[in-house]
Amino acid sequence: MREIRNARIFQMSGRAAWNCLFAAGLLVVFLPVARAQQDEEQKGIEQGNYNIRQSIEFGGRFTNISGDSQAYNSFVNLQQGPRLLGFTMEMRSLDHHATLFDRLYFSNFGYGGEPNLVSRLRISKNKWYGFDALFRKDQNFWDYSLQANPLNPTAPFPNGPAGFGAPTCTSCVLVESPHLFDTRRKLGDYNLLLVPESRVRIRTGYSRNIVEGPVFSTIHQGTEQALFEDYKTTVNTYRLGVDFRPLPRTNISYDQIWTYYKGDTGTTDPNENPLFIVAGSATAVNPVGPTPVDLGVSFNAGANQPCGSTFQIAGAGLTVPAGTTIVNPACSAYFNYFNHGRTRTNTPTEQLSMQSNYWKDLDLSGRVSYSAGDTGVFGYNESLFGRESRTNLRNQLTTGPVSGRRVAATADFGATWHITEKLSFLDSFHFSNWHNPVAFDSSTCSFFSGGLTTHANVFASAGTLPLICAAPADGNTAAGATPVHTGSSGPDITLLNVSKFLKQDEKTNLAEVDYRFSQRFGARLGYRYRSRTIADATFAGGTFVFFPNSQNTRTPPAPFNVDANGNQINCPVANNLSDGTCILTTTFPADSSSTPIHEHGGLFGIWARPTNNFRINFDMELMSADKSFTRISPRQSQDYRIRSRYKVTDWLNLSGSLRILEARDNVPGTNNLQHDRVYGILAIIQPNEKYSLELGYDYNDVFSQIIICFVATPAPPGTTSCGTPFLQQLSTYTNKSHYGYFDAMWTPFHSLTARLGANLTGTSGSALFLNPNAVSGPLDSKWLHPFGGLDYHFAKSWTGKAYWDFYGYHEDPTAGTVAGTLAPQDAFAPRNFRGNLVTLSVRYAF
């Protein structure tokens, strides 16, 4: 993937980019076109009954990127090449009575290879229709190497192949995220409104959301094998609605909405991971190898990952020449893997809403909606071929349907009672109830062997089995062969029915009194009550077939392998057939819980406009709950906000804002405290049309502490036991960001405008590092985006533009480390980059 991406990024040298910028400047300054007077406004042309205004901006971008281009593509992804940077067309009927439409607006940007592309079309004819279309497409590339990274150390593997052996396992360090992806999202939204001004109007709409593209992933099966997903999801939404106006100042709407989700992602093991050779005995009946295997992404020699003695030197008698580096056949590894199923979720929704000002002192609005949809996974098929060393699993095939429902009912009601000219009472009530009962009826055939170079023994049972499993192609079907199990091996045949249920019932009421003391000052006081009940349940049962050996000591798959008392479920000897096969049919104890939570909140807010030039508002909400659903959900919180704007003079505007959120779940054993504080100031200086300067600064302080329990060897300092082998520590996280920005504009003469600005963010912080190879990463970073450019109006309707942008990302690799040392992830795969972009374009507007 990296090669593909790098090939795509044809970059100019820095000198070439600067030469282009310089040439563009010369072109603009010395262009022999008379500098026409700049048209004060885009008047458009009149043709027929329309005034038409258009503008088009086209040009190209040149890039010069150094450092981690994958990180650049993840953050910015603006590449080199010609571009349609923007197009706008507006048509307006001169007499507001044209034949087909009175107004048309079409705009787009991003065509030609930009990561973000948007097109919008609006057409309307006053009394007849309004049509609105929006299409968006974005390219999402992601390869931030710390994501899903096992942070492998560089300790060499004995007998390791090049890059994995002594002196340093440089290839162990993953320079790419195992979860790299390069997807495209296409969002289309189309709405048509018919007879918008009549008493009955009709609305129709269609939306489409597609996400597709290559995705890399991992699967945990003994070790973490790297997988490839051909990712594709599609959502189609169809809407039909009608609005009635049965009474003056009253509207009733009814909508039917149908949403259809399709998930068609398939997963395979592409063997793109570094491949290693496994080889079996050349004299065996069915020799194995030399065969490439995927050992996964975790390489930690000191921790025996992916296994102890991972690499070996082949001796004589194998299917590879003696002296070849081969994989320990006891390792967990994959030869291949496949997973696919078609997910379909179909959600019809009915909605009735109303709004009325019929009564003079009362505003009413309400909405009731009901969704009851089906979900299912069809044709589910998961097959793996390889080895899971813990269980000796070699081949496994799982199939089975998923079926379920999502039922959601909501009701909302809002009222404003204007008691006097100054005093109002507001009430908002929200009810929501949803529940998701979903079941998976799986059938699994498992075959076991003693190592990667040993084929699975296929047991020919004499009994009547609930499922006939086809033997794997390389299986040993010799008479009397019994599977090679371990004590942890699961059943040879599993029919498991799991039905789960999740539900939330929520009611919220907000009552507020709003008082307007004067035209310039008002306040409100409110009380919010929220009641939630979250319930879940699990029901499971199944039939399990255990072939010899250990058929009476192995268990169904966890967590369905224990009874109500926590004792392990085994297949009783009494169930054994004559050939030793044991069949167990059982129902597991149901598991259910219900969590009621009650929240009380007080709200207060004031706003003031002491003069026309100054406005300020303050609002706060204090919340207290009797319980929290997660340990980080607050039981108490205080949220304060202040926003103000002051126009000091005609040329100076000042703004300031403050937001302080304090939250806590400080019960014993959790001790969670959090805050998120943001302070900001902004000045806009515009003494005249020639100069303007916007200057701002924000400071954000995020803090969290919570007691966590974990296992770590060696134990980090400052830990205490919370039950062997667990350790307890207060996990403290701080993140302080400084964000400064400015945007200056200077118009030295009528047809030239210069712009210079920057958005600069610096972050510093601290966190508990449990892994010795963990790096501070984004917690100590700088994200810089200075920019500047010229707009030169060189002829009537024509403007030339030359802009420069710099995107720089820098993580401090020395943060949190011993001076002079670098963690392997920082030494071998820094995420830093610097990107210079020059964009030259011409805009034509008429």
């Binding site: 507001h96 979900t375 929200h430 789960k500 966590i708 892994n771």
Partner: protein, 322 residues
């Protein structure tokens, strides 16, 4: 920041203080009733009070600015002058500014006509909503946080001098929103952010600035699910094995939706620390603690390396598979 006592007494104390403050301020407030203060806008229906837009044009063709009336003629509001079914109170300039005869007779006396410049947010909004309230988009503005903070329609829309022809906006998004919501600008300028500054996503895709029934004026999907699922539909489920926090507390339990210094806009810089905050021994029954073999000093720094389908899975209770 903390007030002594238990949460309930803290809350009651603050509530009482605030009520007293409001009462005191109320007593001190100007008790004279402004002629312009209206509970709701009621259009006078007496046709003799109206003069028609052409009369307005005689003075306002180039006043207060050059081409003032022409701009209005080009705007969508001009179609009201073409209405033949309803009375003059619905036509042209006077549909918004009220009857103009007294203003004309007074030689242009500004006090004889409604001007938006000095009106309160409630008055301005009442005028606009008299036409624009119908439909779910605007139907909750009376209870919106914007109006409650003195923000009116004309703080964002400008019928006469709109910079953006679509919806007559004063400024493009997100610049317009940043004008007040400065704290969001710094979030969208973090290295990991939703593409709002890039023009791909708009503030109004997730929030309804005209108010709604949900907190933060959030929108919802058509099936009244969290708004995030509009785009991130693969996370919506339902799943056999739900990550319950996602469904119950929402995406914001783990993500900072506007932007973050942390990859995937997570609330913590390291995935394992985020997971461990919930998946630890706790006095409450909740998320299961991590198993004893998850040695954090080894490969378990990134929980999602193995638990790849962390938002929910149909086939694997540990979220190892989709």
């Amino acid at each position: 920041m903390r007030i002594p006592g238990n949460p309930r007494s803290q809350f009651l104390t603050i509530l009482v203080i605030l009520v007293l403050l409001v009462m005191a301020a109320s007593a001190a407030a100007d008790k004279t009733k402004s002629a312009d203060q209206e509970k709701k806008y009621a259009r006078p229906t007496d046709a003799s009070l109206y003069v028609g837009s052409e009369t307005c044009k005689t003075c306002h063709e180039d006043m207060p600015s050059k081409g003032f009336y022409k701009t209005y003629e080009d705007s969508p509001h001009f179609v009201t002058t073409l209405d033949t079914k309803r009375g003059p109170e619905w036509h042209g300039c006077e549909a918004c500014h009220g009857p103009g005869k007294a203003h004309v007779d007074g030689g242009g006396d500004k006090t004889k006509i409604f001007t938006f410049k000095n009106a309160s947010a409630a008055e301005i909004s009442a005028r606009c909503l008299d036409c624009h309230q119908y439909g779910e988009e605007h139907s909750n503005f009376a209870r919106s946080v914007h109006l409650q903070n003195g923000v009116s329609c004309t703080d964002c829309h400008d019928p006469h001098h709109a910079k953006e022809s679509q919806f007559l906006m004063k400024e493009k998004q997100p610049v317009l929103c940043y004008g007040c919501h400065q704290d969001k600008k710094q979030q969208f300028n973090r290295p990991f952010h939703h593409r709002v500054n890039e023009g791909m996503v708009k503030c109004t895709d997730c929030h309804n600035p005209h108010g709604g029934f949900l907190t933060r004026q959030l929108r919802a999907t058509s099936s009244q699910d969290t708004v995030c699922f509009k785009c991130h539909s693969d996370k919506a489920g339902p799943f056999v094995y739900e990550h319950e926090a996602v469904k119950v507390e929402g995406c914001v339990a783990c993500h900072t939706p506007h932007g973050s210094s942390n990859p995937r806009m997570l609330k913590r810089s390291q995935v394992n620390l985020l997971c461990l905050e919930c998946h630890a021994f706790t006095v409450d029954p909740g998320a299961p603690p991590i198993p004893s073999f998850h040695n954090q000093a080894q490969k378990y720094q990134a929980c999602t390396m193995c638990h790849v389908s962390i938002h929910g899975s149909n086939t694997d209770q540990f979220f190892f598979k989709p």
